[in-house]
């Protein structure tokens, strides 16, 4: 297991290297002069040159890359071109909203998706099964921004049970925070619910066909106990994996969802950074998101190995 962990960590290095090269090149090769973005059109040539030197833009590209990577490795993601704040600090400020949104969405997905998947599997080929599976397809076919618009329309404008958008930190007003998180969390969680439902249904049906279930049935155990204790326990292993692998999709969903509900998270940070051409912020935020996704995938593999004793590495 330790050997496997070391090997998997070592595999992360080339991937992270490619990620940083892609990110660096994409955002450094863009046309236009960044000093114009920062100083405006009327700045003098001397001011521009000074700023270029200050930002390190007068050095060769490989040198700029090494400087950036060197900074990243020591926790220095550079400074915002717009506000001159350290990017790392800005990201730390934005993390709570995104993490909270992601966790509530995941919780909703598991609390709804697993029971729904079990129900669909147990009632296989009935109207209940078709309805649940159909809802799953519908959820997977609905873009997040559209679901968000529909939820705002129904619950914030027609029924007026929640505010349409906005954010209060949990530490300041827990109730107000959660009320404002409900619609965004449903939006982000909608696709994950569908994935969890599909996977739970599929793997539970597979588990129910195993020999040990027939043995359990032969011993006269109750159906409910067979499903929940014997079959579900094994069926949930792939569900855990598939749910965790949704983390990338979850991050894509939060970008759009945070924008429509005006939540101050990583998604709005990236989108606003693109609009204001604040490249260090975009670069830093995207790098943090990608690294996080890669680490979650790694942990998922380890948990999978731990949950299923048949797997040896």
């Amino acid at each position: 297991m330790i050997g496997y962990l070391v090997r998997r960590l070592a595999q992360l290095i080339p991937v992270l290297f490619v990620v940083s090269v892609v990110l660096f090149l994409l955002l450094r090769l863009l046309p236009g002069d960044p000093t114009t973005e920062i100083l405006g059109q009327e700045a003098s040539a001397a001011d521009r040159a000074a700023l270029r030197a200050d930002l390190g833009l007068d050095t060769p590209l490989w040198r700029q890359f090494l400087d950036w990577i060197g900074g990243v490795l020591t926790g220095d993601l550079g400074r915002s071109w717009l506000t001159d704040e350290p990017v790392a600090g800005v990201i730390v400020d934005r993390l709570p909203a995104t993490v909270e949104l992601g966790l509530i969405a995941l919780l909703l997905a598991v609390l709804i998706g697993i029971p729904a998947g079990v129900l669909a599997a147990v009632r296989r080929r009935t109207a209940t099964d078709s309805a649940l599976t159909g809802l799953g397809v519908l959820a997977l076919s609905t873009p997040h921004f559209y679901l968000a618009a529909l939820l705002i329309l129904v619950f914030a404008i027609w029924l007026r049970v929640v505010p349409p958008s906005g954010y209060v930190p949990f530490t300041e007003d827990p109730a107000g925070n959660l009320v404002r998180m409900v619609l965004p969390a449903i939006t982000v969680g909608s696709t994950v619910v569908a994935v969890v439902l599909r996977q739970t249904r599929g793997s539970l049906l597979a588990a129910l066909g195993e020999d040990y279930i027939r043995t359990a049935e032969a011993t006269g155990l109750r159906r409910r106990r067979i499903v929940t204790v014997y079959a579900l326990r094994n069926a949930l292993v792939p569900v855990v994996t598939v749910t965790a692998l949704q983390i990338g999709a979850l991050m894509s969903a939060t970008v759009v969802t945070e924008t429509i509900f005006t939540l101050p998270g990583m998604g709005t940070l990236i989108v606003n950074g693109i609009f204001s051409r604040d490249l260090p912020v975009v670069q830093g935020a995207v790098l943090v998101v990608v690294t996080f996704v890669l680490l979650v995938n790694l942990v998922t593999d380890l948990v999978y190995a731990w949950l299923d004793p048949r797997i040896t590495y």
Partner: protein, 291 residues
């Protein structure tokens, strides 16, 4: 026993016949055909979508404007018909580009192996580590907003996915007898890839392309929704939903109908993918034991 005979008989039918008998395909194909016809025919309707009816701003559905009007008094139905062109471009141009590039890279990586494979696949791993929309946003950040750049961004996002799938298929196909035989009798590599490997990828690529089309349409709609895709006044379904969310309290229909168009198209591509998978799989019962 009876089912077995039907399955065998069914398996001999051409893919298209089996596809047309599938309930999912019977829903998906007319929806997609409508989108295609709307996209091609909308220029023939003239600039109906740009015409403003200034007496009727943000109205709901009526006899005069079947799906209502937007904040400038433009007809929502006409704009949805016009916006179909963008969706069609995403599904054909962006996904087509990714299909060609990704297939090429996957073929080379899978068949050649060695350092080329290692280099290509590490790059693919790196690109796949980005959440889809985040990579698309990063590309748009570099290139600037607009339809052309959104199409490029989506092609960039989808290419490594095609490469990964094709490489996996090639790895399992290259050890087959007919490939070894072709290699031994001296068929040049490009011809071998084109004639002896590519045809066997058709099923997988068809299913995958349909799935990617649905993902790509969501991505483009999301970019346009965020204001980074298609720029006004050109209509796109994502941007129309975005405009509608600013006026939700005045007009419910402005967001709802363009969104419905997106939803139907995506569902159609998803169901088409499922139907295609089943239609192709019946040809290869060895690949799906237990079905």
């Amino acid at each position: 026993m009876a089912t077995e005979t039907t399955t065998t008989r069914d398996a001999r039918r051409p893919v298209l016949t089996r596809l047309l008998r599938d309930r999912r395909a019977r829903f998906a194909l007319p929806v997609l055909a409508t989108v295609a016809v709307a996209a091609v025919a909308s220029p023939l309707l003239g600039d109906r979508s740009a015409a403003t009816d200034t007496d009727r701003l943000l109205t709901g559905p009526s006899a005069r404007h079947l799906l209502g009007t937007d904040e400038l008094g433009r007809d929502v139905l006409a704009r949805i018909v016009d916006g179909a062109a963008v969706t069609l471009a995403v599904a054909t141009v962006a996904v087509g580009l990714a299909l060609v590039l990704g297939t090429l890279l996957g073929l080379v990586a899978g068949y050649r192996g060695g350092w080329i494979d290692a280099l290509l696949m590490r790059t693919v791993d790196g690109l796949l580590a980005f959440p889809l929309l985040v990579l698309a946003l990063t590309v748009v950040a570099a290139l600037g907003p607009g339809l052309r750049n959104a199409l490029i961004a989506i092609a960039v996002v989808a290419t490594p996915r095609f490469a990964r799938v094709v490489r996996g298929e090639v790895l399992s196909l290259r050890t087959r007898e007919w490939v070894s035989a072709a290699h031994i009798v001296g068929v040049p590599t490009p011809a071998l890839l084109r004639r002896h490997l590519l045809p066997h990828l058709a099923g997988t690529l068809g299913v995958f392309a349909a799935l990617q089309a649905s993902t790509a349409i969501i991505a483009e709609a999301s970019l346009s929704f965020l204001g980074l895709g298609v720029q006004p006044p050109q209509p796109s379904w994502g941007a129309m939903v975005a405009a509608g969310t600013d006026h939700l309290d005045a007009s419910w229909s402005l967001s709802v109908f363009p969104g419905l168009a997106i939803l139907l198209t995506i569902a159609a591509f998803n169901l088409l993918a499922d139907a295609l998978r089943d239609a192709f799989d019946a040809h290869r019962p060895d690949l799906t034991p237990g079905r």
